[in-house]
């Protein structure tokens, strides 16, 4: 029998791939008032994100995320590479990836969708906008959308 995800018993696992501690904190702030119980995991570069997803090294016990928030401009391994690897992996490709980046360049947007990003969001420059966006992610991806359940088994 399936458990209801997002409750205290089964929190929603989100992987935030973001190199800026400021943005990490802002995202945490924004999720603080979320309607559902969220476990926010942070990878500060692309390599660490892949290690987390592959449960390598210190991430051996990492949960499989329900949603990935991915910045594009990352040290070591670029966000575009991370996206490509996730979407080429038979086991990972079903995880929705939300590209959350400062870039508003059409080339970046197009490339991300070509790599099968599930959606592309440009970080708003002001605080209110940013909070609104994170809340929208919360309400859309975590409340409206039905996420793949069998993957959690």
């Amino acid at each position: 029998m399936m458990e209801l995800i997002g409750t205290d018993a089964v929190p929603i696992e989100i992987l935030l791939v973001e190199d800026s501690p400021g943005d990490v904190r802002l995202t945490q702030e924004a999720f603080r008032d979320a309607k559902v119980h969220i476990d926010l995991h942070v990878a500060s570069d692309g390599a660490e994100a892949m290690a987390f997803l592959g449960r390598e090294g210190k991430h051996a016990n990492a949960p499989r995320p329900d949603l990935i928030l991915l910045d594009l401009n990352l040290p070591k391994k670029d966000g575009r590479e991370v996206l490509k690897e996730i979407k080429e992996s038979p086991t990972l490709k079903s995880i929705p990836v939300v590209v959350l980046t400062t870039s508003a360049f059409e080339a970046d947007i197009l490339r991300s969708y070509e790599l099968h990003a599930n959606c592309y969001i440009t970080k708003p420059v002001d605080l209110d906008g940013f909070l609104t966006v994170v809340k929208s992610i919360d309400s859309f991806w975590l409340s409206v959308v039905k996420l793949p359940r069998d993957a959690r088994l």
Partner: protein, 527 residues
């Protein structure tokens, strides 16, 4: 004398040329009516006379037996070849002839039959041709280096000569005015004649004879093969000679030359000579090179600008977003919880970072206005205006502005950028209003040329004429931020867009009476 006289005679009389039969002593034994006519003798006056009477030189000496050879031997050497000699008439006048010889067997010995053709006309034609060719080469200063004599036939065709001289004079003046050098290359003899100017352009220091091989030495090493190929194409295929190459002067200086010419062929298709002009194009080449270099620099600086746009949009925006977000978060979380002093300080930080963000955003918009445009196409300018008005709907409604427009033309332009210009101008017209309700009117009229002049007229504050230029400069404002918001980007963007579209923008205004902003757009594609 001869039994065969009858059929000889018939044969001779039918021939189109003068025919004379001579015996081994050089005496004329037979002649036809053409020979009588050509030399002006009656037949009986010539029979038995020496051939030297009518062909003083070159005939008897060649054909008649002497101590060293027999007549047969002498004749054998001459058979079948056309020999050019001079004929003398009874009145003493001379004319050019060509003779063809053949032997006749006769019981009395070997006779020689000569077919004699008057080649006066042919000689005249040849001479005229040669003269006109040489004259073409004499176009400058009437002087010719490295080549043989110049002959002038003063008696022939005076009128034609004068006409020719007139047209040559015109050509000479044109050649001189264009500072062209001229050259003439006798391909068969490999002799090149040239004009003074040619010598100057090639840095020639002597008037010594030039050959193709010698002139090639003056050509820049890297251009020699190309030049030679071009010359061969002209000689062999008749391709017009048209080439640019470098010459190296004795002082090692390099000069660019443009050369044009053509080859003249014989009836058999053999190239006999080539001639043409040369001119110095060093200056043009230098500016072309400079232009290419400048284009490269311009492209680099444009690329730099694009790079700057990226830096401004991302790298600069990024830390600023942190400053803004966290000061805002501070304000939100602690407003009223500390003393009012703290609230005020935080407020300044928030305000400063907000303005910085707007400036960066506007700067980015400005840098993109000149480079990020779409391809130009036919656009109904009215729909661009409607789009602008739709974007301004809130502003128009809030201000109660009355925006009207006349029918507007179709122009070849960038519709997005045109809409942006309309939006900025109409937006300004409403923004800088007086107490009364703003009225904005947009119209367009064709000027004398092929430009459309658009106008956006308002009844707003108006502008003092001393600021007519300044308002179009980036970040230049006439009002404090407390009076009117903004960074001073709008008109600067308008001007940049119009520069890109091949147009221009200006204003006419009086303070307190309103302003009219004009912009001109080419009817066709902008450049």
């Amino acid at each position: 004398m001869m039994q065969t006289d009858g059929w000889y005679r018939g044969l001779l009389e039918a021939a189109p040329d003068a025919m004379v039969v001579v015996n081994q002593c050089g005496e004329i034994v037979l002649l036809n009516v053409q020979a009588e006519k050509q030399f002006g003798y009656r037949r009986d006056e010539l029979i038995g006379q020496s051939i030297k009477d009518i062909i003083p030189e070159g005939f008897a000496e060649r054909l008649i037996a002497d101590g060293t050879r027999t007549a047969a031997e002498a004749l054998a050497q001459q058979i079948g070849t056309g020999i050019e000699l001079t004929g003398r008439r009874k009145d003493g006048s001379e004319f050019p002839i060509e003779i063809l010889l053949s032997p006749l067997e006769d019981p009395e010995g070997i006779l020689v039959m000569a077919a004699i053709r008057d080649i006066t006309k042919r000689k005249q034609t040849e001479e005229a041709l040669r003269q006109s060719e040489e004259r073409r080469c004499l176009l400058e200063n009437g002087r010719l280096h490295g080549s043989g004599k110049v002959t002038r036939d003063v008696t022939a065709r005076k009128k034609a000569e004068e006409d020719l001289r007139d047209s040559e004079e015109m050509v000479r003046m044109a050649v001189e005015a264009a500072e062209m050098g001229t050259w003439f290359w006798n391909v068969q003899r490999d002799e090149i004649s040239w004009s003074d100017k040619f010598g100057a352009l090639f840095g020639l220091t002597s008037n010594a004879k030039l050959t193709y091989k010698l002139i090639i030495q003056v050509i820049h090493q890297d251009d020699r093969q190309r030049l030679d190929q071009s010359v061969q194409n002209t000689l062999n295929l008749g391709v017009p000679y048209d080439i640019e190459y470098r010459v190296v002067w004795p002082d090692s200086s390099v000069h660019w030359i443009a050369a044009k010419g053509r080859a003249y062929r014989s009836a058999q298709g053999v190239a006999e000579h080539m001639q043409g002009i040369v001119m110095d194009i060093t200056e043009r080449k230098t500016s072309e090179e400079r232009l290419v270099k400048m284009m490269g620099e311009l492209k680099r600086s444009n690329d730099d600008l694009q790079q700057f746009a990226y830096v401004a949009s991302h790298d600069l925006q990024e830390p600023l977003r942190m400053v803004a977000s966290y000061t805002q978060l501070l304000a939100r979380r602690y407003k009223g919880r500390r003393d009012s002093d703290a609230d005020e300080l935080i407020a300044y930080a928030v305000d400063g970072s907000n303005r910085m963000q707007v400036l960066i955003r506007d700067l980015l918009a400005y840098s993109r206005a000149g480079t990020n445009g779409k391809a130009l196409r036919e656009v109904a300018s009215e729909s661009a205006l409607k789009e602008a008005l739709a974007n301004l709907r809130a502003t128009i409604e809030d201000s109660g502005a009355d925006v009207t427009y006349d029918p507007l033309p179709t122009v070849t332009t960038d519709s997005v950028q045109l809409a942006q210009v309309f939006q900025n101008l109409v937006g300004n017209a409403i923004k800088y209003r007086r107490a009364e309700l703003p009225h904005v009117h947009v119209s367009a009229a064709k000027n004398g040329g092929d430009e459309w002049i658009f106008s956006v007229r308002d009844n707003g504050l108006g502008i003092d004429s001393q600021y007519f230029e300044r308002i179009f400069v980036l970040f230049q404002r006439l009002h404090g931020r407390e009076e009117f918001e903004g960074t001073g980007i709008g008109l600067a963007i308008c001007r940049k867009i119009l520069q890109r579209l091949g147009g221009r923008i200006w204003v006419e205004s009086q303070p307190e009476k309103g302003s009219t902003f004009y912009f001109a757009l080419p009817e066709g594609a902008g450049k």
